[in-house]
């Protein structure tokens, strides 16, 4: 399976190897194999594969990972530019979860 990668050198992911204890949690939650384990701690294997979902930083018990999280969705960015705050998530975004739904239900937002 060919691996799809997006733009080069834009991702905000940072790993503080001094704080990392090598628990391996980031390797477990990352959906794009961004990390690999060396003998003592995790290191970033492929930064460009990162989609900034934030799973690693949220699940790092030692706060060793920082990333500016967000959904990589042009429609959401456009909605934000137009000040359409009633549509915080993107229109047709599916997150590739093969289950389509993301717009806030109007009444429950």
């Amino acid at each position: 399976m060919n691996r799809l990668t997006y733009l080069k050198n834009v991702v905000t992911l940072k790993l503080d190897e001094g704080k990392c204890t090598g628990c391996g949690m980031c390797l477990e939650v990352c959906p794009h194999e961004v990390f690999k384990m060396n003998t003592r701690h995790a290191e970033i294997r492929d930064r460009d594969a990162c989609m900034e979902c934030g799973a690693c930083s949220r699940n790092c018990p030692f706060d060793a990972i920082t990333v500016q999280t967000g959904v990589g969705c042009a429609a959401a960015v456009i909605n934000a530019m137009l000040g359409r705050t009633d549509q915080p998530c993107c229109g047709p975004i599916d997150c590739g979860d093969s289950s389509v739904a993301s717009k806030e239900k109007g009444c429950c937002g």
Partner: protein, 372 residues
């Protein structure tokens, strides 16, 4: 009947109403109940009925997908006991249905978090599939009195919203991240809750990309209904013949050209995504749009020996790729690997380019008709 979510919790006339800890037994897909120390928990089967499939089909086409939710809380799949695994999911019915249908012949507990009817990955990104809701739902469902163990399996794609270590601290329940695909769950459970590296990798195969086409098309309907009549009438301006004759000839072509650009952006682009050149989705869309435009111009057969024909060709070589690139750019939200930093960078050049090409092309087209 689909389960009506709208009359419970958040949308009811009495907003202060507390959510029911136990999901209702009269939801369409509930097949019975199982007695627990905290009451009757609804039992579901791993077999999907025609109405589950019909509901999923409709949701794919955007029909009723904002209300495609089940009651949040604990469900029993099969005949789980005090040792059975606990799987956590969203209360989006399609997520829930996919989970239960993948676990045929298994006895497990399913804890559906209140994600407002949104799938796990999106909800995790927004934080509704999150630590707070998980800890609260563990408490209100009475899970501690129903099972003896203290561990749960969460979908890996829920990890952006849930901090495993915090959940453990607050609820006493340890979090194991299961595989990305529900189809891998049985193998994961049988391997002693171990996922292979392939199970942890989010891919974007043809089947998933194709499943997104309906909703991509539906999203274009509203602008199309406005743009199509405008293009048809603009086609009537200028030209060699009368207004309506021009509209029928040139206006119809303009409508077809626009529709071909939509097919390019919403159908062909998702299908060919890995094979189109460039990394930015807009770049892929521009290339694809240029090919579509070339084909459409060949079919139209503008006379390139005169200026009107040359300008007309130029116009559609700008408009069609602009529309295709714009739709392609919007597909970033549906894809599984684009970062927000990347999308911001792409949009900085792509959006002005698409607007410029589209607007400029339209002016050139009208000009070409005036001199024709």
């Amino acid at each position: 009947m689909l389960p009506t979510y709208s009359d419970s919790a958040c949308c009811g006339a009495t907003p202060a109403e507390a959510p029911e800890p136990i999901p209702r037994l009269d939801q369409g897909f509930v097949v019975g109940s199982i007695s627990t120390p905290v009451g009757s928990v609804p039992r579901v089967s791993s077999e999907l009925q025609w109405r589950d499939r019909w509901g999923a089909f409709k949701a794919r086409w955007g029909v009723g997908r904002m209300d495609y939710a089940i009651d949040p809380g604990l469900y029993a799949l099969g005949n789980p006991d005090r040792e059975s695994p606990v799987l956590v999911s969203a209360n989006y019915k399609m997520s829930f249905d996919r989970l239960r249908s993948a676990l045929s012949g298994r006895d497990v507990w399913v804890l559906a978090l209140d994600t407002k009817g949104i799938n796990v990955w999106c909800a995790a990104g927004k934080g509704t599939f999150g630590t707070e809701e998980l800890v609260k739902r563990i408490d209100t469902s009475g899970l501690k009195e129903i099972v003896d163990h203290r561990s749960m399996i969460l979908p890996q794609l829920g990890a952006p919203g849930v901090a495993a270590h915090t959940t453990k601290k607050l609820s006493g329940f340890g979090v194991r991240y299961g595989p990305i695909k529900v189809e891998d769950l049985p193998a994961y459970i049988d391997a002693g809750f171990k996922a292979t590296s392939i199970m942890r990798l989010k891919t974007f195969p043809l089947k998933e990309r194709a499943a997104l086409i309906p909703i991509e098309l539906v999203e274009t309907i509203k602008p199309t209904l406005i743009i199509v009549p405008v293009l048809f009438l603009l086609g009537g301006i200028g030209g060699p013949a009368g207004f309506w004759a021009n509209a029928l000839h040139e206006g119809s072509f303009a409508v077809l050209a626009f529709l071909s650009a939509i097919v390019g952006g919403a159908v062909i682009h998702p299908l060919l995504l890995p094979y189109l050149p460039g990394r930015a989705f807009s770049a892929k869309g521009l290339v694809l749009g240029a090919v579509v435009a070339t084909i459409m111009l060949f079919l139209q057969g503008y006379d390139l020996s005169i200026w009107a024909g040359r300008l007309g060709s130029l116009a559609w070589l700008l408009i069609i790729p602009a529309v295709t690139a714009y739709l392609a750019m919007n597909f970033t939200g549906a894809s599984t690997y684009t970062s927000l930093s990347g999308v911001n960078k792409e949009m900085r050049w792509a959006l002005p380019l698409e607007i410029g090409m589209g607007g400029g092309g339209l002016l050139i087209w009208v000009a070409s008709r005036l001199i024709a």
